[in-house]
Amino acid sequence: MVHSAKGVLALTAALLLSTAAVAQDKRVVTWNADYDPIPLAAAEALIADFEAANPEIDVQLTNFDHEGYKNAIRNFLTANPPDLANWYAANRMRPFVEAGLFADISDVWAENGLMESLASSVPSSTIDGKQYAIPYTYYQWGIYFNRDAYAAAGVEVPGPEGVTWEQFLANCEKFAAANIDCVTTGSSALWPVAGIFDYISLRTNGYQFHSDLAAGKISWTSPEARAVFEQFGRLQPFVTDNHAAIDWQDAAALFVQGKAANYVMGNFAVGVFKEGGMTNDNLGFMVFPEITPGLARAEEAPTDTIHLTSGAQNPEDAKKFLAFMASAEAQTKWNAAVGQLPTNKNASVDAADPFLTAGFEALSTATGGIAQFWDRDADAEYAKAGMEGFQQFLVQPEQLEAILARLEQTRLRLYPQ
């Protein structure tokens, strides 16, 4: 059953009507989600499967507009909690866990062997030793490149193993000479710059350092943090001008047109690139180059999750559904439909999609660890301050000292030593 979110009255009316219409003896599980049309259809298909296997349960999904959901969840968790709600892992779920609005589901993890099958997502689903989330999908980040732009600038196209950092920067010189932006981004919404920063940080100092940095444990004026900005500074001259005034989709247009050669992005952008006219023939993917030799490779893969609310009316059946969403079969099916990667290591991906298989390969061999993305690894306020600093550095690299001092001031305020 799917409803779209309406005003409180309309929503209540719809719920009343639908519960009345559905056979009385079914037990209802309510689920609030924020899906675009394709993921929504995939979720409906999963609900149908689940209901077929559990005919006594009726899962009712209420879908919200993606942007509105960020606001709505704060209201409905208190005022009118569903049984299940979509959200994000790591620090993004922390406020809801701390306010006691998300319920502990460690038992679901234990009873279904999820510690093992969802091993890579354990850290991001855990707060204070308890699990509060069921991760069911993620997607890789990395460098997407335009083969035509490489050809136009006479630069050798990277192989599947990527290139070294020195080689990448040397290529950038050639792109600059050919009047092509080596790396493009559109940072008016801030987060795209965090993708670049995260990778340089992960590659310079490794996963643990980056994770500590996001957690406010490391000084921005430490030599390690400066080393990250030093590498960031080497890339800075080759990033598209005026990126601060354009959106990531505007930059995607530059990339598709061959005015830019590389784009540090998440896999969701492939759809936009292909809509713009690119194909598997001229669109390439590589992992971000190694900077400090010998570091275990870590990757960036934001995870989407489902949560049991503390106000759930039917937690028993909701937990059944959570276990189902954690299963390999459900994750294989949902992610195949949406074009993302399952978090269950026993699930499989579509072998015909080169970007999915490359991503699956990259993530399953990332022995360094999986980062969630800056704005999910760091607390909200810290995340924002960081992203503004990264953006400013890309616009005004000469302001480095001021940027670091300000970030450090923010850190000391948020995480008193």
Partner: protein, 307 residues
């Protein structure tokens, strides 16, 4: 008989005592609930740390922190930038007065079709600030925006004004001035209509013209219009939320923030939900506005008691 008239008069007198409050009741009630009481609540909230959440039992989850929010404001660079940008807005918005007066004088003629011209010049004020913001965002857009192309043509290197941390606020202020000038213009046009013709003629016979006439004869008569224009311009400058939100969301890296936007960002933005801190920013904004409100009320008080 006399008795009856007296009770009748007494009833009417007490009716006249009660009637105003009955007429006031609905409006006063709404105004208290939605305006006066929230001001008190916001001031209270500014002494709390609250993420906007209630717990499962519907209980407020905030904690009292005293003046910590205000103390933090003192050292918050984003607050400083916002405050400084508000000053820029206030000062530059005042340009609406001379420009609006200039256009009003330009249009104060009686040629055919002038009425239509006046309406069309007034047009920008009628349009939503959201639309004005989108129009100017298009005008400033990097690579193809008309302003960008113009600067590219003149200097050889295009200026993407909304990506430039030093220029972005001025770019937004210009967008805001457009409708504000239109507003001021219409105030002055009405004012000019009511300038006493005999005084002008008398001054003309004395040989006054041009600037002298404007400064010594016309402007003094436009004082009421100027007063209203200053008030609406100050309010417009401090309410600059819409344009900042539409054109830059405060960016790049917070360079175009103003207090009204920063407050929203802190309280309801994606990385915000610091309701107490947001409330503290709002209290500062309120205090700034109170300076102007007091001035306005004081002048009204004088006018009222003069009458």
């Amino acid at each position: 008989m006399a008795q009856a008239t007296q009770t009748g008069a007494a009833a009417r007198w007490s009716q006249r005592k009660i009637a105003p409050w009955l007429f006031l009741a609905p409006g006063l009630f709404m105004f208290t609930v939605y305006v006066l009481w929230p001001i008190v609540q916001s001031i209270t909230l500014s002494f709390y740390d609250w993420n906007g959440l209630y717990n499962q039992n519907g209980e407020f989850t905030g904690t009292f922190v005293g003046v910590a929010n205000y103390a933090e404001l003192m050292t918050d660079p984003a607050f400083e930038i916002s405050l400084w940008n508000n000053v820029k807005w206030l000062v530059l918005y005042m340009l609406a007065l001379p420009i609006g007066l200039f256009i009003a004088i330009f249009l104060n003629q009686t040629v055919t079709g002038i009425r239509l011209y006046k309406s069309l010049f007034f047009f920008p004020f009628v349009i939503s600030q959201v639309v004005v913001g989108l129009m100017f965002a298009w005008f400033y857009a990097p690579n193809f925006g008309l302003f960008y192309l113009l600067t590219e043509w003149i200097t050889g290197d295009g200026t993407a004004i909304l990506a430039d941390p030093d220029l972005v606020t001025y770019g937004i202020i210009i967008a805001g001035l457009w409708p504000q000038i239109a507003y001021v213009m219409i105030l002055y046009l009405t004012g000019l209509n009511n300038v006493a013709p005999d005084q002008i003629e008398a001054a003309r016979l004395d040989g006054a013209k041009g600037w002298k006439m404007l400064w010594y004869v016309v402007l003094p008569q436009l004082r009421p219009a100027t007063f209203i224009a200053v008030i609406v311009t100050v309010i417009g400058a401090l309410r600059s939320f819409d344009l900042v939100s539409i054109m830059t969301s405060g960016g790049p890296f917070g360079s175009s923030r103003v207090l009204s936007y920063y407050m929203f960002e802190m309280a309801l933005g994606e990385f915000g939900f610091r309701m107490g801190y947001g409330a503290a920013i709002a209290v500062v904004l309120f205090a700034i506005m109170m300076i102007f409100i007091s001035g306005f009320i004081w002048k009204m008080w004088r006018d009222e008691t003069e009458r």
